[in-house]
Point group: C2
Chain length 333, copies 2
Amino acid sequence: MGEDSKIPKLEDVAEIAGVSSATVSRFFNNPGMVAAATAERIRAAVAQSHYVPNLMAGGLASSRSRLVAVMVPDIAQSIFNATVEAMVDELSVGGDIVMLGLTGIDNARMPHLISAALARRADAIILTGLLTDQATRDLIRRRETTVIETWGLPEDPIDIAVGFSHRAVGQDIARFVHGRGYRRPHLLSASGTRAMERRQGFLDDWASAGGATPTEQVFTSQTRFGHGRAAFRSLRELDERPDVVVCSSDWLAQGLLVEAMAAGVRVPDELAVVGFGNLTMAAEMRPTITTVDIDGARIGREAVNVLRRRAAGEKIEQRHIDVGFRLMVRESA
Amino acid sequence: MGEDSKIPKLEDVAEIAGVSSATVSRFFNNPGMVAAATAERIRAAVAQSHYVPNLMAGGLASSRSRLVAVMVPDIAQSIFNATVEAMVDELSVGGDIVMLGLTGIDNARMPHLISAALARRADAIILTGLLTDQATRDLIRRRETTVIETWGLPEDPIDIAVGFSHRAVGQDIARFVHGRGYRRPHLLSASGTRAMERRQGFLDDWASAGGATPTEQVFTSQTRFGHGRAAFRSLRELDERPDVVVCSSDWLAQGLLVEAMAAGVRVPDELAVVGFGNLTMAAEMRPTITTVDIDGARIGREAVNVLRRRAAGEKIEQRHIDVGFRLMVRESA
DNA sequence: CTGAAAGCGCTTACAG
DNA sequence: CTGAAAGCGCTTACAG
C-alpha cells in the first residue's frame, strides 16, 4: 500500500532499470533501437513494477491514438456482424482497439458518434452504413481522417470504399430467376438506398429480358421475419399469384417460407423464394434458402488491410475495392 | 489551407472568443461556471473554428478516459448481443465510448484485451464471460479498476456482478419438465462453466423429485445447429428413447426440431424439446420453442447504471444484482 | 545505442 | 466568474 499502490509510470520503470525514460519508451515503440542487455533490464523492471503504458499520454505525444472507430446501425440481428468481428479481430492483433458506434438503423446517431471518434483522434473511421449528413462529411474531410466505407461502392466515396455492387446483385438475381423459367416475380424490398439499388438492378434486367413488370411491396421499416409472414398472406389475395418472391433479406424469405409450409404450399414448385444475405439459418432450415452470399468477414479484413497499408505510408490510388458476391442456389428457388 | 487547415485547439477558440483557455475548458466541462455572455462568445468561436476537443489530452489531464471496455466472446451469433447493444446505447448518450473486445469463445484473448483496456485507462471494464486468468485478476485488483461481471452471479465477484443464477435456471426447468409429466429426459449441454451449472441444477432437482438419472451428452465445442441435428439422430439409436430433450441453447433445440420434423416425429407428443436463450427464432419457427428468456438488454442497462452511480460518488454495497429469468412455455414442450 | 529537454493539448487547484 | 501556471505521462528530434 501507500507508495506501492501508486500506478507506475515510465519514469518508475526507467529508475528501476537504471536508464532514462526515453530509452524505456524506445523499448516499447522501437525495440530495435535498444541494446539487448538494456532491453533485458527494462523487461525485468516492467515485470517487477507491473507497468502498463498510458496510451492516452502516448497518443497525445505521438498523435496516434491506435483507436479505430467502427460504425454500424445495430448488432442485435445484423448482417454486418461478421464484418465487425473480422475487423475487431484483425485490429486487436495489431494492438489497435476499436470503438464500437451504434448509429441506429436510420443512422440518426452517426453525427454524434463521428464527433466522439474525432474527439478521441481515432486513426480511422470505418462505416458500414451511409453517411448522408453533409456537415459531418465536411468535418471529416477538413480533418483529413481516413474513412473506409464498406458494404457498398458509392460513386464518389469520402475516401475508400470496400464492398460490392448492389445493382449487380439485383441484375444477377433477375437473370437467375428468368433462367429458371419463373415469369411472375413479386418483389419484397426494404426502403433503404442499397435495397433500392438491388431492386432497380432487378427491374432493369428483368425488363430487358422481356419480362412483364413485377408486382411489388416496399417496407419502410427494417424487414423482419414478421413482414415476410404478413407478405405471404397478402400474396394469396392477389388476382394473379406470383411464382417467385424476391426478398431483400433472408429474414423476409424465412418468414414467407414458414407461412408457406404451414399453408401447405409446395416450395419451389408452387412458389419459389429468393433471399439476400445468406444468414446461417438460410442453409439450415427446411427448405434451404436460395440467396446471395456476401463475404462479410472478407470485407472486414480488406478494410483493415487498407488501413495498414496507408499507415505504412503507402499511397493508395484505388478508391473502390470490389469483393463481389455469390448466388447460393438451394432448395427454395 | 495553410494556417486554416491546422486542427484548432482550445487556445485557438479562446483567442477568437477573447477569453483564457481555462474558461473554454470550463465551458465544456462545467458550463454552470461560465457567464451566459461569455458562453455565447465561446459557442460562436467553437462553431467558427470547427473545434473538436482532444479527449486524449483531456483524459490525460483529468485522468478520466470516458472509455468503457466491453469484453464478449464473439458477436457473430452471440446471446450477448442485446446486452452489448444496450450498453453501447446507454454509454454513448452519456458521452462515453465503448471499446469492443472480442475474447474468443474460449476467452483466450481476454488477458491481452484487458491490458489494452488498462493501457487506455478505461474508466471501467465490463465482462460477459469468465475471467479465469489469475495474473490478469491481480492486475485489475491492483489498479482498482471498476469491473462489472455480467450474465452470471459468481460467489466472489471481482467487483460487482449483474446476472442471474444458472443453477436456478436448471432447477426451474427440472420442475417444469417433471410437472408436465415427462419422465425420461435427455440432457444436451455445452461444456462451459455456466451450462454446467444449469445442468447440475437440473440434475439435483430431478433427483430430489425422484426421477431416474437422465441420459446425457456434453459438447466441448460451441453448441450449434448442426450439433442439435446430429443429436437427434443419435437419440434414435438409444434403447430407451427420451421423451424430452433439455438443450443448453436454442440453437441445439432448433437443430433437433428440424430433424424431428423431417423424420415425422410429432413434437411435443412423441418428443418434447426445451431450449435456452429465447433467440428471436424461438418464437417464430414452427413449432415454437419452449425456452428460458434472459433480459439481456436489462443486464446491459443495469451494468451501466452501476457505473453511473459509482461515477457519481455513490458507494455501492451490493455485490450481486440478480435480474432473474423467465421460462417461456410454447409449443415444443 | 542513449540522455536531456521541449512539447503534445488539455484540466484544475489557487488566487483574485 | 475568470486567468496564470503547473502538471498529466508520454514521444521525439537533437546531440553525443
